[in-house]
């Protein structure tokens, strides 16, 4: 369990062979018919080379900074990282996470695991129960055909364990499926609501001939939503319970056969507390694993507000790597402009886009003040303007975004820029 994940690098490189065409919104029509790799290598200019709006781009320097910063922090704090791949669903970014020491990639459902396996991700945490017989059948085929594939999913009820066991016993897998018992908390999301329930689930896993108890899992992010002292205390209390669960499993001898038990928690809001609790010394071999996914792009909204690195002194904060560009096509009132970007293009569930830059038709770029996005329709953004705003029809607005997950799922091919030069194209698979 200590070695890092691997990927099928040829499969990732194969993305470069896909043809760019009208399927990819925002890409220049002049690139149609060439491959992703050819277009990525052309070093197109974001503004001079006929990209059409709306457009979302990734900033290479911010990506590189975030990858390096998170890797160093995890290394320094004694935790492994299995970043949640649901954020980007981008194998090219998974590869960069792997190159920065990722231990595995986390998934949310079976369809996501299928994408990961198409790119040979060797270690997957499925941060969910897996009860669907069709998905279990596919999983067993994968496990049986690739002995290097390591997979764990969650279990939080004896009923769920029974369903998994029933299906798997019919399938007779060549090796048991690894399961982490999931601890939740009252008011939370999934997960057993108390230690005794979690222990009962663990015993059920332990007794199933087709399952192997591989450790314990949790998710603290459902229990609090800000960085207040009381929220942090709730998180610490929950993490202490998760630690106690692992110790109780060890005391009961249920982790004895493992080289190293997995204990995992950690979204992107409280991973400092997760590391502080889960990387403390253990009386048995334990691999503490964070699953934060949003760090790779960070954001200009929700995560900017709640990231631990915003409140820890001496740490380089993550940098926002996502930016949208949209044109001002209408200014029908002095205090209102409309941008051609909407709910199909930008996230809106954890805060609306933040106008940051104004690009004039002559190419001059300046900070945009006195402008706020007040609403998104499907394909329009309402930009409320202050009395001094000089936004003109034909200008372009650069927007910061909040909540990267719901940005990536709106774009299948995203230019990566250094300055205004496109240095790569990132393919997503949602």
């Amino acid at each position: 369990m200590q070695q890092l994940m691997e990927m099928d690098l040829a499969a990732v490189a194969g993305i470069r062979s896909e043809q760019v065409n009208w399927r990819f919104k925002g890409l220049p029509s002049s690139t149609f018919g060439r491959t992703v790799g050819e277009v990525a290598d052309e070093r197109l200019d974001l503004f001079a080379d006929e990209f059409v709006g709306p457009l979302v781009v990734l900033d290479e320097d911010a990506l590189a900074h975030n990858l390096t910063t998170m890797a160093a922090w995890c290394e320094g704090h004694g935790v492994r990282l299995a970043p949640h791949g649901k954020t980007t669903m981008a194998p090219q970014l998974f590869q960069r996470q792997a190159e920065h020491g990722a231990w595995g990639i986390t998934a949310a459902n079976a369809s996501q695991v299928r994408v990961y396996r198409a790119f040979g991700v060797s270690r997957v945490l499925l941060a969910n129960q897996l009860l669907d017989p069709a998905a279990l059948r596919w999983l067993v085929t994968e496990l049986d055909s690739d002995p290097r594939f390591e997979f764990s999913c969650w279990a939080d009820s004896e009923a769920g364990v029974a369903l998994m066991s029933e299906t798997l016993q019919e399938l007779q897998p060549g090796r048991p499926v690894d399961v982490l018992v999931e601890l939740g908390a009252p008011g939370g999301r999934t997960g057993a609501r108390d230690l005794e329930t979690a222990l009962a689930v663990a015993r059920a896993v332990d007794q199933s001939p087709v399952l192997r108890l591989a450790g314990a899992a949790g998710y603290e992010g459902a229990l609090a939503h800000d960085a207040s002292t009381s929220s942090q205390a709730v998180i610490d209390g929950y993490l202490a319970d998760l630690r106690t669960l692992v110790l109780r499993l060890a005391d009961a001898g249920m982790l004895d056969e493992l080289d190293s038990a997995i204990v995992t928690a950690g979204g992107s809001a409280y991973f400092d507390q997760v590391a502080a609790t889960l990387a403390q010394p253990w009386p048995l071999p334990v691999t503490p694993v964070l699953r934060s996914g949003a760090y790779i792009t960070h954001d200009d909204g929700f995560y900017r507000g709640i990231s631990p690195f915003a409140r820890i002194e001496g740490v380089q904060p993550f940098r926002p790597a996502l930016r949208a560009w949209a044109q001002v096509t209408s200014r029908p009132q002095r205090d209102l402009a409309l941008l051609t970007i909407g709910k199909r293009d930008a996230s809106f569930d954890e805060g609306l886009p933040e106008p940051q830059l104004l690009r004039r038709r002559d190419g001059a770029v300046a900070p945009l003040t006195q402008a706020t996005v007040t609403a998104l329709n499907d394909q329009h953004a309402f930009l409320k303007l202050g009395p001094e705003a000089t936004v003109r029809v034909g200008d372009w607005v650069g927007l910061g975004l909040s909540h990267p997950c719901t940005v990536f799922d709106k774009w299948q091919l995203i230019p990566v820029v250094r300055g205004t030069t496109v240095v790569d194209l990132i393919r997503t698979y949602f």
Copy 2:
């Protein structure tokens, strides 16, 4: 302008040649490697044939009903239909709309028009300004290479007209670009705020050698959000102004060179009022065009509440054609179950999914009562349960959805079912 739209039927049929694989969430792993057409023809069963959750499906009978109902209604009310294709971005559904008499397809931005043109849509209304030089360059290439391609976009400012003209004069298109002057209203979205402004915009179009004034456009849906008497009065007032605008344009001689002027409005909430105003006799040849898009699937939320057919007697209401299926994977508290479906899979911007059906593991399906979705996370739904609810881990829940636009953009290949038999697969291009 009177003839109906055409499409490149070979291109639409070509969708059937695409390979089904791990890129398409929810599809059975057993179908991977076969083509969309092969899988569509297999008559798979939604529950017996290894689809994995979460899954969204389209109901064939509801689709057929909605297509027929809307076509008959438009025919009976003297209006043409250019359904807004942004709802589905599905050329196979555009083809069915064309077969039901659609006059054109409406788009929201240049990237959408590129998709339409890849499938040969012969008449496109771009319900937006088009000022982006890169997009205009592509458009001119399309117009010059296909004399049958009819395109109109909106203009709501003299500044916008000047920008269009400047770019187009450099490009020297073989024919002028058709423009509809857009009338808005105070408090609305885009569109000139009064008749005099709209007339000034129209004059600017009329005077441009590279533009042709083709009529007038509006969107009443931004001005009201319910079916109250006062909302309906606001809508009627706006539509009367739009009618007046066309008459003023005609009086000024600006529509004299047209075979038929276009006048268009109509989302999915007030299209009855649009038809009532715009299909009244005109003193000049006018083609009144509705642009409603959501009717094709209708919904179980926002449009159910606001559709005119819900309040007009003697009309068959539209039927909801979208349904999501997700498995109950956790029931950690008596009053809470978690479903493996979230913001990546289901719409949440105009109301949360509505639990409707419960499917037991033995295949029995029954109405689900005492259950409400209270929140969606990225990949989870919170199902609040009443005291009598008998939801069990392993059951599947069928959910109605609100706002089809933000469902379609989360699915690239959607099974169409009759009962539980899959009769087609619909490809979307977002």
